[in-house]
């Protein structure tokens, strides 16, 4: 343990124990740093993609099997509610993708310290949202 940390404890720095889900969310007692947000969203997006796997494989199947099933696939896809689900899953995929690339950099000991890791966490949040906006514009036929 470094000197600085020991000093801080002597000065009666608050010790945070048993922080529960409410404390870090709706009660807002402890603000989560960007890296914590990226981390939990990496898990949530992965779990969400796993749960929607049968739906995605079903869409994949309909898009490829035949020209008739492709028309059916397009019909399902045109539904506004389905488009929103696809958009949500696109965000989940793109977040998981960008956060995963951040992990690969960290595996190679790049941007491991406190400041850099928060900076890259902000990039992950920004880039994944920007890519999702691009996909949304394409999905809703803007370009």
């Amino acid at each position: 343990m470094s000197e600085a940390v020991r000093e801080a404890q002597k000065k009666g720095r608050p010790v945070i124990r048993n922080v529960d889900f409410g404390d870090i969310t709706y009660r807002g007692y402890y603000k989560q740093p960007p890296s914590a947000l990226v981390s939990i969203l990496h898990r949530v997006s992965g779990a969400g993609l796993f749960l929607f796997l049968p739906f995605l494989l079903y869409l994949f199947q309909e898009s490829l099997r035949s020209e008739i099933s492709f028309a059916h696939f397009k019909g399902v896809f045109e539904n506004g509610f389905v488009k929103l689900i696809i958009l949500g899953l696109s965000w989940a995929y793109l977040h998981h993708f960008t956060a995963g690339i951040r992990h690969l950099f960290m595996d190679n000991h790049i941007a491991l310290d406190k400041d850099d890791s928060q900076k890259t966490a902000r990039w992950v949040l920004t880039i994944s949202l920007a890519l999702t906006v691009l996909v949304a514009l394409k999905l809703f036929g803007v370009f």
């Binding site: 898990r43 992965g46 779990a47 796993f50 796997l53 049968p54 494989l57 994949f60 199947q61 898009s63 490829l64 099997r65 020209e67 492709f70 028309a71 995929y93 993708f97 995963g100 690339i101 992990h103 690969l104 595996d107 890519l131 691009l134 996909v135 394409k138």
Partner: protein, 125 residues
């Protein structure tokens, strides 16, 4: 080479080859991630730059043998990746050993079924 005496096999002296200690799954998660990232970039670029999305164009892409195999290998890698991630989630939150083992077993069976389904989809084109 260290022996298997437990007192000599902890901390910095831990034998890191042979019994894996999760190294294999960790590495598999990374390698499959790189594979999926390459596949994602190929598909994302073709989606964002594509103009009219027709059955001929889409099925034509997957009709090529090399692309079928590329997709299959990527999906199989993805299912291994999913196994590592979902197993971590069960290990973190499910405290009951019986329930955890059940969920882990079901996850393996489900992912095997998905892998077979993927093959069926790809070779239907």
């Amino acid at each position: 080479m260290q022996g298997f005496d437990t007192k000599k096999n902890i901390g910095q002296r831990r034998l890191v080859v042979g019994a894996h200690y999760g190294m294999r799954d960790w590495l598999a998660q990374r390698l499959t991630a790189i594979l999926m990232a390459v596949f994602t970039i190929v598909l994302l670029v073709s989606f964002l730059t594509g103009q009219n999305f027709t059955y001929e164009g889409w099925a034509g892409l997957f009709a090529r043998q090399w692309f079928k195999l590329f997709t299959m290998v990527t999906f199989f890698g993805m299912f291994y990746h999913v196994w590592v991630g979902i197993r971590d989630i069960w290990m973190d939150y499910i405290k009951s050993v019986g329930l955890r083992l059940t969920l882990q077993s079901l996850t393996i069976l489900w992912l095997l079924a998905c892998a077979a389904w993927t093959v069926q989809i790809l070779w239907s084109v």
